[in-house]
């Protein structure tokens, strides 16, 4: 009876508070101890899922009023599911964002500005400013990430092949592939073929010709000479069986025990990031090592935060969501729980606290970061509106891989659609 009365009073109060806080704008619309269930979504491999679930348990242990309704899946499925959720205004309260996609979501008004989360002394101003989109912070970076490569150290050593070295150049990378071909058994390949735009872009940027998509998608810049040279080398590799045949390449699926290019034993190297190399190491424990991406005169690869936690504009628990994110980034206990599963934790104090207890496989991520950071170039995601072009780039290059298109045709197709899109976007913004 007493409880019921209390409940009723609480409801009455809640209603009154609501009216008030709406007038005030952003302040708390419920008392901090009312139970809240935060919907949360992220992508990754199983090792990350387990760490993330445990982190939420820890948080609920400390804040019993906050519980979670988690949903998690692999990278591909995640980015397939998110647009439909966004369209129906049912994005989760807290969601994992990636540098490659955050522009698309932020510029379409689905993400909350998180500039008011106080991170002084945690993340330096410059880093945060760099991550702002139109002056607003749509996601809190949770880690330092970097792009590099993983290689099968055990198998390469067994075959007597010289291991890749830090800051290897593109020429050394190609030579590594040629030399390794001679020493590896048939059906095993030193490197894989490439059909995505980002891998070529590392090459173009390394040779000082800049990014492909510039000025927020209003300028298109594909260097024909470099394009022809880069893919010309891969064409030669295809003939010489230095890269796997096209139908094998399109069957690869990263982090799948049977279909992962490296875990399946078919390829000796593949791209890896600080935050994802742990999943590969789990598939082939003790066998792999890391190196940065091949570099050109300008450098190569990137090393910066690309993994964010964001809050949906449709969320009804924005304050609780922000409080969780702040805890996630700044609390040592949180860091101890999720470890290096998202990359190197962004807050140095957190990382320093967990470093001594890192398992050797977790140090792999740190090693990748340290190797990549010297020569790193800026991370350059596709601008908003460019996802279709990115898809078509891959399809066009697949046609080249399967011998259905010449390189010249591919270049023309890709640059035609890129220029058309850039023109369309610059018109619509005027």
């Amino acid at each position: 009876m007493l409880a019921a009365t209390l409940g009723l009073t609480a409801c009455g109060n809640g209603g009154a508070n609501n009216g008030q806080s709406n007038a005030e704008g952003k302040s708390n619309n419920s008392d901090p101890n009312a139970p809240v269930k935060l919907k949360i979504m992220w992508q990754g491999a199983d090792i990350r899922h387990q760490a993330m679930l445990k982190t939420q348990e820890v948080y609920t242990g400390l804040n019993p009023s906050v519980t979670f309704s988690p949903e998690y899946m692999a990278w591909d499925d995640y980015w397939k599911k998110l647009p439909t959720l966004a369209a129906s205004h049912s994005l989760p309260d807290v969601l994992h964002m990636d540098g490659a996609y955050i522009q698309e979501y932020a510029t379409r008004g689905t993400l909350e500005d998180l500039s008011d989360i106080d991170l002084t002394g945690v993340i330096d101003e410059k880093t945060l400013d760099n991550l702002k989109i139109n002056g607003k912070l749509y996601g809190i970076p949770i880690s330092r990430n970097a792009q590099g490569m993983a290689y099968n150290k055990e198998a390469l050593e067994a075959a007597g092949i010289e291991l890749p070295k830090k800051d290897w150049t593109w020429d050394e990378f190609f030579d590594f592939a040629r030399n390794a071909r001679a020493k590896l058994p048939e059906g095993v390949y030193p490197i894989s073929d490439t059909d995505t735009w980002d891998f070529y872009e590392y090459y173009q940027m390394g040779y000082g010709k800049g990014t492909i998509i510039q000025e927020d998608g209003k300028k298109f810049n594909l260097d024909k000479d470099l394009f022809m040279k880069f893919y010309g080398i891969f064409a030669e590799f295809r003939d010489k069986k230095i890269v796997p045949p096209a139908d094998m390449v399109s069957a690869f699926k990263e982090n799948d025990p049977q279909a992962d290019p490296m875990a399946s034993g078919k390829v000796m190297t593949r791209g890896a990031t600080v935050g994802s190399v742990g999943a590969l190491e789990q598939l082939m424990p003790g066998k792999i090592d890391v190196v940065n991406l091949p570099v050109g005169p300008e450098g190569g690869g990137w090393a910066q935060p690309t993994i964010f936690l964001s809050v949906s504009t449709d969320s009804k628990h924005k304050d609780a969501a922000k409080a969780f994110i702040k805890w996630f980034v700044t609390d040592k206990k949180a860091g101890e729980t999720y470890g290096t599963n998202f990359g190197i934790p962004i807050y140095d104090d957190v990382y320093n606290a967990i470093e001594p207890s890192l398992a050797p496989k977790e140090k792999l991520g740190k090693k990748l970061y340290d190797t990549a950071k010297d020569k790193a170039l800026p991370f350059s995601p596709a601008a908003a509106g460019w996802t279709e072009w990115v898809d078509n780039y891959k399809k066009t290059m697949d046609a080249v891989l399967f011998g259905q298109k010449s390189l010249e045709e591919a270049y023309n197709d890709i640059s035609k659609s890129g220029n058309a899109l850039a023109e369309k976007l610059s018109k619509s913004s005027k």
Binding site: K80, A87, G109, D247, M248, S250, A251, A259, D398, F402
Partner: protein, 318 residues
Amino acid sequence: MKAEAVHKPAAARLRLTKKKAKSSNRNNLAGYIFISPWLLGFLLLTVWPIIQSFYLSFTEYSLLEAPTWTGTQNYANIFKNDTDFTTSLKVTFIFVLFSVPLKLFFSLMVAMMLNKNLKGMNLYRTAIYFPSLIGGSIAVAALWRNMFNLNGYFNHVLSWFGIQGVGWITNPHTSLATLILLNTWQFGSTMVIFLAGLKQIPNELYESASVDGASKVRKFFHITLPMLSPVMFFNLVLGIIGSFQTFTAAFIVTQGGPINSTYMYALFLYDKAFKHYQMGYASALAWILLVIVALMTAINFLVSRYWVFYETDGGKQK
């Protein structure tokens, strides 16, 4: 008086019809109330979105921002500059052209086998129909992906015979055929309808044909096929409509690849709507598909009078 007498029956009649109309109105109302759960669902979840999609097909709509009216721009772009449209249409037509007849043929053969009077036939029927309970679902498509992948079960079996398989679903030459095979394999419901049709054929026809010394082949072509033609027609129409909308297979097994070789129309439409944020454009694509399917169905009905045989027409062909 006289006038009254004349009018009385008329008035009574009027009253009666009014009463009738009233009660039938009431009956109708009760009927509508009974079907209202379905009706509401139909109106809100089917009719309304259809109307909306028609409107959206004349707009540019990113899903996340409000739609803006662009007139017939979407349709113009689809027909003028969209190579993906022509590609996906071509892929879909090839798929329909092969998968529909194959599926009809295959399910008819299975139905005929299951129509035999053998001991334990019910068990066979159940066993053969059983996989169809899982239907055209994600699970089946995922299974198919694992079977026909480069290192899938199928190639594994081939390797016992020393045959080096290809990546059936990752090779542009074989990927579409693999999906056609998948569609053919999902013969369950078509087969059951055929089986029901076969059971309807009176045995006397076969008996009298046997007395006249007709061979098995002759009986098939002159009794089974004509008697089955309405069922065949039904399966054909549904098969064509269903095949034009094939999505799950392409989405799960091949994701339209490699290089668009299995880029079904429905998948292309989905990509436009949910991957590239062009809901208006996708709506226009949906309406074009509707027109195509309607046309195909109309052609089917027109042609059907030359080959579909209805017993109720007194055996005359229309």
